[in-house]
Structure formats: structure tokens, C-alpha cells
């Protein structure tokens, strides 16, 4: 009897091992916001059903700065535990050596994506990552409040400030002491670089380091932009905004405590959720423009991609997963459920998406004109450039030195770093 059990159990374990050899065990890291992880889980379930490969999600903090530090460490150590990485649009030049070239694997589909996005993920002819969705922020506004006070959607930052102040004061007087005018991402991290780049660019102040490598940040328009933003802190934006990342500002907004918010499109679907206090009461518009010469509405180009680690034990299955997660089927579902902007051009004409997420077709033009962060001209120094920039901005906004002073110091620091 005992011997029989032993034999049976040995045989089962052999079968199990043999089965596992065909179906790979994969791991994917993701530091998504909102309910992005839950969405990813659903998609992975489908993937497992179709291919038999098992995928584990390794969740990461939502701060892109934190994620990058961890990924760099793992990749430098040749970590084999993670097969697929979720990467920010700016990381390709810095991590290119550690990821597999996907040019061949994606030869059939690469042409369907927007060429500019494929280009941003191509380093020296190597396709480092496949785009999952692109991102360009919006001005979220409370349509009910604008209507109540007879205001238009603002098109300049100054208009936005005036409208926000007026509605905030009136709402507070009407018995809502927690009301604020505008929330954005002001914590000292990559998100502040995105926000501040928009302010500077919208005032015609360039994009920190230009494509040809010129350091352009110390100029009148950039100073004017930061001085404008500085007047918001403590008036229309809470002082705590200087510690907010995406999710904190969405928290204030989704409880109905802000007239305006700057955030990425993912906040649209969440704001329309059943537990949201602003459901059906808000709209989105392009970010306001600045003033002066060269003023325009500017949005920082964001977006996320899937890259395959060159240390992966199952590179074929991992590439299969990356292709699956960036396919039109998943991108479409992502657009409908998460309001993430697809990177496949054809999906912008999709009737189902237009109905479920009307923001998306309108966003095509905005992200096509979006401003890239200077990750290409600064290459491996990008993180330090970005950190110097957000520190200068954060100092200015928290009243630590004037904008002119901080930008001059920043210029000198950047010259030291890049030349």
C-alpha cells in the first residue's frame, strides 16, 4: 500500500515537472496607478488561458522615480526573476543595453503604432520596448461648477487662476471649507518635471534642454511661468500640493474638493466610476496656455511600454507576453476601461471607443503635439537633469529663493553636468 502511494506520487510529480517545462513561469513588474493592476491581472488571466504560461505580477510603488531606481538595480545585477518590465517612455535610452531587441518579433505590428512612439523606443536601431499606451495630460474641470457660476473653460493660466479663485471663494462661503481651486503634481519627483515642463513650454520658455543639446532653461518666459505658478500655492492650491503625486491630487479631485485638476487621462475613467463624487460633473480640456511670445497649450508626452529583460530565462514566452499586452485587442479594452490612449492609430477611429471614452478621439491631436522630456539629448544624465530641474522648481514654489535665482543656479548646474 505504502509503496503504491509512493510510486503514484512520484509519477504525478514527474508529470507536473514535464508540464511545467512547456508552460513557462513568467514575472512582470508594474507600478500602475488607480486600478491599473486589477486590469493587468484580468488580461494576464486571458494570456494564461490561451498560452498556458503562468504570469506573476510584481507590484511596484507608483512613483516612477522609485520604480526606475529598483529596475536599474535589478538589471545591473542580471536579475533573472523578472521577465517583462513596464517602462516609462523616457527610460529607453538609459536601459537599452539591458533589454532584448524586439525589432524582429514586432516586425508585423510595429507599423501600426504611431511612428513617433516607435521612434522614442528605438535606440541605435534597436527596438527596446513595445508601446502599451501613450499619455498626454489634460485640464480636468468641474462642468457643474463652471455652469453654476457662468464661467467658460479657461484657455490661459491666468484665466484659470481667476476662475478657480472665484469659484473656490464662493463655494467656501457656501459651506464647503475643503474646496480648492487647482490641484496638480507638485511633489519633488519626475511628475513635477512633467508639470513644470508644461508651464515653461506654455509660456514659450523652451524645454529645459533643447533637442540639439542647448541648455535653454534660464530665460524670461520660464521665469514668468514659475512666478505665475508660485502665486497659486496657498491661494488656489493647498500648500500640501507640494507633496502630491498623481494619486493624491486625484484623491482631492474625486472627493469633489477641487475646481480644476491637471492629471493624465487615466483619471477620467476613475472619475466616472460609481464611487466618485464627481461622476458626470466634469469635463476635460487641453491645458491652458501661458502669456507672451510663443505661448501655446503644452502637454508633456508620457506613456508606458513593455520591455523584455535580456536575462529572462524564457525570452520567447516573455516576448509573446509583451506582444499580447500591446496588441490591438488589449489596447482597445484598455482604452474603454482605463481611458489609456492607444498607440495604434486605427483605434482612434473605433466607434466603440468613441462611445465609451469620448475623450480619446479628441486626444489624438493633443498627444501628437505633446512635448517630449529632454531624455534623448541628455541620455544617461537624464535623471540627474530632471532631478536638478524639479528641485529648482520645488524650491521656487516653496518660497526658497526666487524663480530667477533658482533657474540661474540650475543653468550653471546643468552646464557643469552636461558639458
Amino acid at each position: 500500500m505504502k509503496l503504491k502511494t509512493l510510486i503514484i506520487s512520484m509519477m504525478t510529480s514527474v508529470t507536473l515537472v514535464a508540464g511545467a517545462a512547456q508552460a513557462a513561469e513568467l514575472a512582470i513588474v508594474s507600478g500602475d496607478t488607480g486600478n491599473g493592476l486589477a486590469f493587468l491581472q484580468e488580461q494576464l488571466k486571458k494570456f494564461t488561458e490561451r498560452t498556458g504560461h503562468n504570469v506573476t505580477i510584481v507590484p511596484m510603488p507608483s512613483s516612477t522615480t522609485d520604480q526606475f531606481g529598483q529596475y536599474r538595480l535589478w538589471l545591473a545585477a542580471g536579475n533573472t526573476d523578472i521577465d517583462v518590465y513596464t517602462t516609462d517612455v523616457i527610460w529607453a535610452p538609459q536601459l537599452a543595453d539591458q533589454f532584448l531587441d524586439l525589432t524582429e518579433a514586432a516586425a508585423d505590428v510595429a507599423g501600426d503604432h504611431f511612428p513617433s512612439i516607435i521612434e522614442s523606443q528605438t535606440v541605435d536601431g534597436k527596438l527596446v520596448a513595445l508601446p502599451a499606451y501613450t499619455d498626454a495630460p489634460a485640464l480636468f474641470y468641474r462642468s457643474d461648477l463652471l455652469e453654476k457660476y457662468g464661467k467658460e473653460v479657461p484657455t490661459t493660466w491666468a484665466e484659470m487662476r481667476a476662475t478657480a479663485q472665484e469659484i473656490m471663494d464662493a463655494e467656501r462661503a457656501a459651506g464647503n471649507p475643503d474646496m480648492w481651486g487647482f490641484v496638480f503634481q507638485g511633489n519633488a519627483y519626475e511628475g513635477l518635471t512633467c508639470n513644470a515642463l508644461e508651464w515653461v513650454k506654455s509660456y514659450g520658455g523652451g524645454q529645459i534642454v533643447e533637442a540639439d543639446g542647448t541648455i535653454s532653461i534660464n530665460n524670461e518666459q520660464a521665469i514668468a511661468a514659475l512666478e505665475e505658478v508660485r502665486t497659486w500655492i496657498g491661494t488656489i492650491s493647498p500648500e500640501g500640493n507640494l507633496a502630491y503625486m498623481e494619486e493624491e491630487s486625484r484623491g482631492v479631485w474625486q472627493l469633489g474638493n477641487a475646481v480644476f485638476m491637471r492629471n493624465w487621462p487615466y483619471a477620467y475613467a476613475l472619475g466616472e466610476g460609481d464611487d466618485s463624487a464627481v461622476k458626470g460633473k466634469f469635463g476635460v480640456a487641453p491645458l491652458p496656455a501661458g502669456e507672451g511670445e510663443g505661448a501655446r497649450s503644452a502637454a508633456t508626452l508620457g506613456g508606458w511600454n513593455y520591455a523584455v529583460s535580456k536575462y529572462s530565462a524564457n525570452p520567447e514566452a516573455a516576448i509573446e507576453l509583451a506582444l499580447f499586452l500591446t496588441s490591438d485587442e488589449i489596447q482597445k479594452e484598455r482604452a474603454i476601461k482605463q481611458t489609456n490612449l492607444p498607440t495604434l492609430e486605427a483605434l482612434y477611429d473605433d466607434a466603440e471607443i468613441a462611445e465609451a471614452a469620448p475623450i480619446i478621439p479628441n486626444w489624438k491631436e493633443i498627444f501628437q503635439n505633446a512635448v517630449p522630456r529632454p531624455s534623448a539629448p541628455t541620455k544617461s544624465d537624464y535623471n540627474e537633469v530632471s532631478s536638478l530641474f524639479w528641485s529648482a522648481v520645488h524650491n521656487t514654489l516653496s518660497g526658497n529663493g526666487s524663480a530667477a535665482e533658482n533657474l540661474e543656479v540650475l543653468e550653471a548646474d546643468l552646464e557643469d553636468l552636461l558639458n
Binding site: 536599474r72 545591473a76 500648500e239 535623471n383 520645488h394 516653496s398
Partner: protein, 327 residues
């Protein structure tokens, strides 16, 4: 690390003539210590030497093994400008960001250890008194110390949040605050916020070590003092403090070493604020985020030297006796 290794060996009593047995025990002790010394060399000595070596090279994370020796360049290098002939210094020793971090760390260490010692002493004195339910109170007071720092830092960061935080809510309801304060966001309150969380977390540890010292003090000294009519305050300064001093000094040095390498709490609460960035935070940033692996290694090396300096000074000035015996 180094001090722990130095102080732990068992000392054989020094006599005029060592007996055969004593010598034999000393030899045996050395064999027993060997595994620990090897383990220490592997997990502490080797990485330390490697960091120091990297600090003299131009290593980057993507190219650790192709690093080339550049001497002291990461610490200090200079160049004479051709146009004016002025000398331009660069490197860690003249980096204002680094010295700002050193200053933040020292400031943090001083205030946190000071408060933890005072509060820890008070808590230990209370716990040393006999009252009903003392066991439960002792266990309860250890809870902050038992929670992992990352968890308690996250917890506090929500409590300190300006819009949803319970501290602002309480303050507003009680009329202590006129408006919600962004504790971790503004440069003035960020350090205070970090200090409060650290003191909350580590006071129990301090209290525990002091309590152990207090319990070593024989009761009859107090009885004698009471018969002589010595005032309790005087009892504290003349009996308790001198007798608990060895334990207190050891507790303080543990805390100072801990505070000088503070990382996790600040990394979670205020990761990128110049007002709170400490040496470890800056070193990590350079090592991993900025791809300045060699420069970050130089910072780690300097961090090690600064801690070593503090420890040596402290042991020398305080004449700390780690053997726990009488001086």
C-alpha cells in the same frame, strides 16, 4: 560594524600566571569565534572594501567590471581655467549637496537621540515602578518598535497628509490649528515631521535598554537613601543616573549609529526634499538613480568614515566600557 566585532570577544581574566586551563579555554574560544569572523568578513568586510575601491574608479552601474582607477578624482579634482588662471575645484569634498546632507544627518541624529534619551528615561522609570498590569504596559509600549519602519512611515505619511490626515483633522477640531498644515511638504516642518516619527518609533527601544540597566541597580541602596531622608530628585541624580550610566551610554551609541545612517523613514516620508535628505539618501540617489556609481561609492565611503569618527570620539570621550563591568 567594526566596533561590534571588536568588543564581543570573551576576555580572559588577567592574572599573574595564566593557568593551563585558562589558556586552553582561550584557544577554544578563538575557534568558536572563527565562523562569526568569517561571516562578518564575507557580509560586511568584503562589500565595504569593494565600495571603497569603487570610490577610486569611474564605475557606472552598467559597467561595473570595466571600471578604471582614477585615484582621488571623485573626492576632489581641480582644473586651472586658461582664460583667468583661477582654479576650479570639483568633487565630493566641495559638493554643497553633500555637505547639506551631512548637516541634515547630524542635525537629525542630535535631536532624535536627545529626545529619545529623555523620553526613554522617563518611560523606563515609569515601567520600573511596580504597579498592576505592568507586563501589559511593557508589551504595549514596544509596539512602535515592532512595526517595520516602512509600514510605520507609510502610516504616518497618511496621518500627516494635509487633506485626509488625522493630525490636521484633530488639530482643526480642537482649535489648535487655524488651517490645515502640509507637514511633509513645506521645508520648515519636514524635518520636524521626520523627527517626530523617529522619536515615536525608537523611544521604546531606548526605554527597554535603560530599563534593563535600572533593574540591575540593587534595591537596598534606595532603601538606605530613604531612611536617610534623601529627596527622590536627589536620589535620581545621585544614585540612579550614575549607576545606569554604563547602560545608557551603550544605548545612546546604538542610537547614534542608527541615526547617522537613517534611510528608510526619510525615503518614504520626504524622499526628495533638500530639507531632509541625509547622507544615505543622497548616496543611494547617486548610486542607482543618477548612474554615478563611483561618486555614490565615494559618498558611502565618507559616510562610513564619518560614522567611524563619531563612534571613536564617543567611546573615547565617554570612556564607554562595553564589558559591562565596573570601571
Amino acid at each position: 560594524m567594526a566596533t561590534e566585532a571588536m568588543v564581543s570577544p570573551v576576555r580572559t581574566p588577567v592574572r599573574a600566571v595564566r593557568s593551563e586551563l585558562t589558556q586552553q579555554r582561550a584557544r577554544a574560544a578563538r575557534w568558536f569565534l572563527l565562523p562569526m569572523m568569517i561571516a562578518l568578513l564575507v557580509v560586511a568586510g568584503w562589500p565595504l572594501l569593494r565600495s571603497i575601491w569603487f570610490s577610486f574608479t569611474d564605475a557606472s552601474l552598467n559597467n561595473l567590471y570595466g571600471a578604471e582607477w582614477i585615484g582621488l578624482g571623485n573626492y576632489l579634482r581641480w582644473q586651472v581655467l586658461e582664460s583667468s588662471g583661477t582654479v576650479r575645484y570639483r568633487g565630493l569634498l566641495v559638493d554643497p549637496a553633500w555637505w547639506n546632507a551631512v548637516w541634515n544627518t547630524v542635525r537629525f541624529a542630535f535631536w532624535s537621540v536627545l529626545w529619545e534619551t529623555v523620553l526613554g528615561m522617563i518611560v523606563a522609570l515609569v515601567l520600573n515602578a511596580e504597579f498592576r498590569g505592568r507586563g501589559i504596559v511593557r508589551a504595549a509600549i514596544l509596539i512602535p518598535w515592532a512595526i517595520p519602519t516602512i509600514v510605520s512611515a507609510k502610516m504616518w505619511s497618511w496621518m500627516l497628509n494635509d487633506q485626509f490626515g488625522i493630525l490636521n483633522d484633530l488639530g482643526m477640531r480642537l482649535g489648535l490649528l487655524s488651517q490645515k498644515v502640509a507637514w511633509t511638504a513645506s521645508a520648515e516642518t519636514a524635518m520636524t515631521a521626520v523627527l517626530v516619527v523617529d522619536i515615536w518609533k525608537t523611544t521604546p527601544f531606548m526605554a527597554l535598554l535603560i530599563l534593563a540597566g535600572l533593574q540591575m541597580i540593587p534595591k537596598d541602596i534606595y532603601e538606605a537613601a530613604e531612611i536617610d531622608g534623601v529627596h527622590p530628585v536627589k536620589q535620581f541624580f545621585k544614585i540612579t543616573l550614575p549607576l545606569v550610566r554604563p547602560a545608557l551610554m551603550v544605548a545612546i551609541i546604538f542610537r547614534v549609529l542608527d541615526a547617522l545612517r537613517i534611510f528608510d523613514l526619510i525615503y518614504v516620508l520626504t524622499p526628495n526634499s533638500d530639507a531632509t535628505k541625509t547622507m544615505s539618501v543622497v548616496a543611494r540617489e547617486n548610486l542607482f538613480d543618477f548612474d554615478n556609481f563611483a561618486y555614490g561609492s565615494a559618498q558611502s565611503t565618507l559616510l562610513f568614515l564619518i560614522i567611524a569618527l563619531f563612534t571613536t570620539l564617543y567611546i573615547w570621550l565617554g570612556r564607554v566600557n562595553f564589558d559591562g563591568g565596573s570601571r
